[in-house]
């Protein structure tokens, strides 16, 4: 389809310092904490109790609804406690803490999964505990479950990894290329799109080469090298840039015949079907100016970030900010006890110099945020409406379509907290019951 409009993108710095660094396995941590809600939808329900012995890969939390995801023990050991307060947010949220025995004994039920049809495939995806590992965390099985009558033209395997610093998807595509490829073949066989496109930004030549090598000559499979620009991996941006299709307001990607799925998610599915081992560990990029030896690590889910940072030589003294995820959309955390979860693709630590917030000054109405909004919104106008709590205007400006990519706040010369304003504006609309 003809591309009618180029989505503006930002040439954010890449900082892909760890791209050539295959991940190292960290030692078994002293403790892991597994939140029951590491995904979109309903939290999982614990199926173990304090004092129970668990083995690696054992189910400890069952899916709490149709849109939910099971949680598995990432280490073998004893259940230390079941907590009902989230240490990070202070809100009520159940998590299970396991004291590892260091043996990493694998649960006896772990065995290759037999899949012969779509239903079995979707069950396997659900049982693997996989969720959108690009950061969204939406459970993958419901996403792949198509409503009757939906014609699926494209599955876009998202290896854009457009956030600075993060290279965990890059490493997955290089080091576990075979799993990504097997996963793509499984999607082709059981979800049956017309075409599968593996989308990779052109700053990852090794990943592109690997994927091209595997897909050469296979019909219905394509590897597309995309210009490195932020937010190339945003799902609606990706759909537009690959297919020229525009997802309607309030619609789903499947409305335009597309599904976007992260490349690591695809690899986890293939790995689960091949080995039976659910999602219990993942590759995490540990980087940032305050990390002594930045590298990629493989860590059990639930490992406190302290252990990851220690494994990378520890923190420099002037550390002032720690982020889970990328610097554009990641979450700053208050301390080092926070565990990595399924969607944690990076732990970044920054020194004081990079963490100090610049004081916002008046909006000078330069229009940079408008010119560069990939969603075509008007952040400066939205902020005005937000400050005046004008619900009708927020609606008219379509703040609910904001992808929270933070391009606006990145660019703002007056350093206004525009991305925060977008999120809070959505809250206002939600509270006003007028989404």
């Amino acid at each position: 389809m003809l591309q009618v409009r180029r989505i503006p993108g930002l040439p954010v710095p890449h900082f892909k310092n760890t791209a050539l660094n295959p991940p190292d396995m960290i030692p078994v941590p002293a403790e892991v904490t597994l939140p029951m809600k590491m995904h979109g939808g309903a939290p999982a329900r614990p199926v173990v109790g304090p004092g129970d012995s668990v083995k690696a890969g054992q189910l400890i939390g069952e899916a709490g609804g149709r849109v939910s995801s099971p949680v598995h023990a990432s280490v073998s050991g004893k259940i230390k406690s079941i907590n009902d307060i989230d240490g990070l947010t202070g809100q009520k949220a159940v998590s299970i803490t396991i004291a590892p025995d260091g043996e990493q004994t694998v649960h006896e039920d772990i065995a290759p999964v037999n899949v012969t049809n779509t239903q079995e495939f979707l069950k396997a995806v659900q049982d693997s505990g996989v969720v959108g590992l690009g950061g969204a965390g939406y459970p993958t099985a419901p996403k792949l479950t198509l409503k009757d009558g939906v014609k699926l033209d494209y599955i876009l395997i998202n290896g854009a990894e457009c956030e600075p610093y993060i290279t965990s998807d890059t490493r997955t595509m290089v080091d576990e290329a075979e799993y990504v490829w097997q996963g793509a073949l499984l999607l082709k066989e059981y979800i049956r799109p017309e075409k599968i496109v593996i989308c990779i930004e052109d700053n990852k030549p090794e990943a592109i080469k690997k994927m091209r090598g595997l897909s050469a000559g296979v019909s219905g499979m394509e590897v597309r090298a995309l210009p490195s620009m932020y937010p190339q991996g945003e799902r609606k941006v990706l759909v537009y840039n690959i297919t020229g299709r525009i997802v309607p307001e309030g619609g789903r990607l499947t409305d335009v015949g597309c599904i976007v799925i992260n490349c690591t998610t695809v690899a986890v599915i293939a790995k689960y079907i091949k080995t039976g081992m659910p999602l219990v560990s993942r590759c995490v990029t540990v980087d940032g100016s305050a990390v002594k030896n930045p590298k990629n690590v493989i860590a059990p889910i639930g490992t406190p970030i302290r252990e990851l940072l220690d494994f990378c030589g520890g923190l420099k003294d002037d550390v002032k900010k720690i982020i889970l995820g990328g610097p554009m959309m990641g979450t700053a955390v208050p301390n080092l006890d926070v565990p990595i979860v399924k969607v944690t693709n990076a732990v970044l630590a920054f020194s004081a110099k990079e963490s100090v917030l610049s004081e916002p000054s008046n909006c000078i109405k330069c229009g940079r945020c408008i010119a560069k909004c990939p969603m075509g919104l008007m952040p400066s106008h939205i902020e005005e409406a937000f400050l005046l709590k004008k619900v009708e205007q927020l609606k008219a400006y379509k703040v609910n379509m904001c992808a929270e990519c933070a391009c606006c706040a990145y660019l703002c010369p007056a350093k206004r907290p525009l991305s925060q304003v977008m999120a809070l504006s959505k809250n206002i609309l939600w509270e006003a019951g007028q989404p």
Binding site: K236, Y240, I246, V247, P248, E249, G251, L315, V319, K320, K321, I323, P327, M328, M329, G330, A332, V333, P334, N335, L336, L348, F350, E354, S355, V356, L357, S358, S361, N362, C363, I364, K365, C366, G367, I370, A371, P374, M375, G376, L377, M378, S380, H381, A396, K398, M401, E404, A406, A409, Y410, L411, C412, P413, A414, K415, P417, S419, Q420, A423
Partner: protein
């Protein structure tokens, strides 16, 4: 290790700051400043200096008096001073320049809330106030060496004295009668190119503004080339009609704004009682900016009609 900064994403930001943008505008005005001193002599520098110092002082004093954060460091008051000076005749009594600068900063800018909050361009509005308050000194032009007359080309055209018009080359490099910073199209264009390269301004408003003036005066058969380089068209189109707070924020809006400025400029120049209309045109268009913004809302990607 437990006192980390927790703030909302993004955690990295572009190097661009308001301060840097203002500095770029000042840098872009340097060629025109040099030209003004070269054409009109050292008094051009004195007038510019007086305006800048008064503007910065007024901003500082007003914010101190109102117990607001002092923002003179953002350099915007400095730009207002330079632009106002560039829109004055070189022979302007200095006390009038001081008065104009105070009007620009206190009445037009600070009373509306300071940087970013004013709806009208401070330098332009102050110039218009001075134009009406001091009609004699604001239209007393100094004759520059090698020139037949002190009158501005626009005044000559208004009076039909076309034979007295300067050579086109003089019009372009600026050796002609006029306000001290507006005459050298060459210097102003150089600054404009710098601003485009630095991405401080976009091409939309200046191109739309200048093209409209050229086309309309051509259609009217009224010396389009002279209308291009005469008066304050270049300084207006490049530096005043691109002032962020008082102009639209979208590309489409900026084109509409530029065309509107061009239409009013030509109407005033050809039919008005004043020879020059750039200031009035920009001020008029400043007032409709909120409406232009509303008419030129961007279309959200996949957004439904509302």
């Amino acid at each position: 290790m437990n006192n980390m900064i927790v703030s909302y994403a993004p955690h990295i930001k572009d190097k661009i700051t308001t301060n840097r943008i203002m500095l770029d505008v000042i840098i872009a005005l340097i060629p025109a400043f040099i030209a003004s001193v070269w054409i009109f002599g050292p008094r051009a520098a004195v007038v510019t200096g007086v305006c800048v110092i008064t503007c910065v002082f007024c901003e500082w004093a007003f914010q101190k008096a109102m117990k607001r954060t002092v923002t003179v460091k953002d350099l915007s008051a400095c730009i207002t001073g330079i632009l106002l000076a560039f829109n004055l005749p070189v022979g302007i009594p200095l006390w009038q320049a001081v008065f104009g600068s105070a009007v620009a900063i206190v009445f037009v800018k600070q009373l509306f809330g300071g940087i970013g909050k004013n709806f009208a361009n401070p330098a332009i509005t102050a110039r218009i106030v001075m134009f009406i308050a001091f009609p004699i000194t604001m239209t007393t032009w100094v004759q520059i060496p090698d020139s037949v007359t002190a009158a501005t080309p626009l005044a000559l055209m208004k009076r039909g004295e076309l034979e007295a018009l300067p050579e086109m080359l003089n019009m372009f490099i600026g050796t002609r009668g006029g306000c001290l910073g507006e005459t050298s199209a060459l210097a102003l264009l150089t600054g404009g190119v710098y601003l485009l390269i630095r991405r401080v301004i976009t091409w939309h408003t200046p191109v739309a503004f200048i093209a409209t003036v050229f086309l309309l005066t051509a259609i009217a058969g009224a010396q389009p080339m002279y209308h291009l380089f005469a008066g304050g068209l270049f300084i207006g189109a490049i530096f005043m009609a691109t002032d962020y707070p008082t102009t639209p924020q979208t590309s489409k809006g900026r084109i509409i704004f530029g065309i509107g400025c061009g239409v009013f400029t030509v109407l005033i120049r050809l039919f008005g009682s004043y020879p020059e209309g750039v200031s009035f045109a920009i001020l008029l268009m400043n007032m409709v900016v909120p409406h232009i913004n509303r008419l030129t809302m961007t279309k959200a990607l996949g957004g439904a009609k509302s």
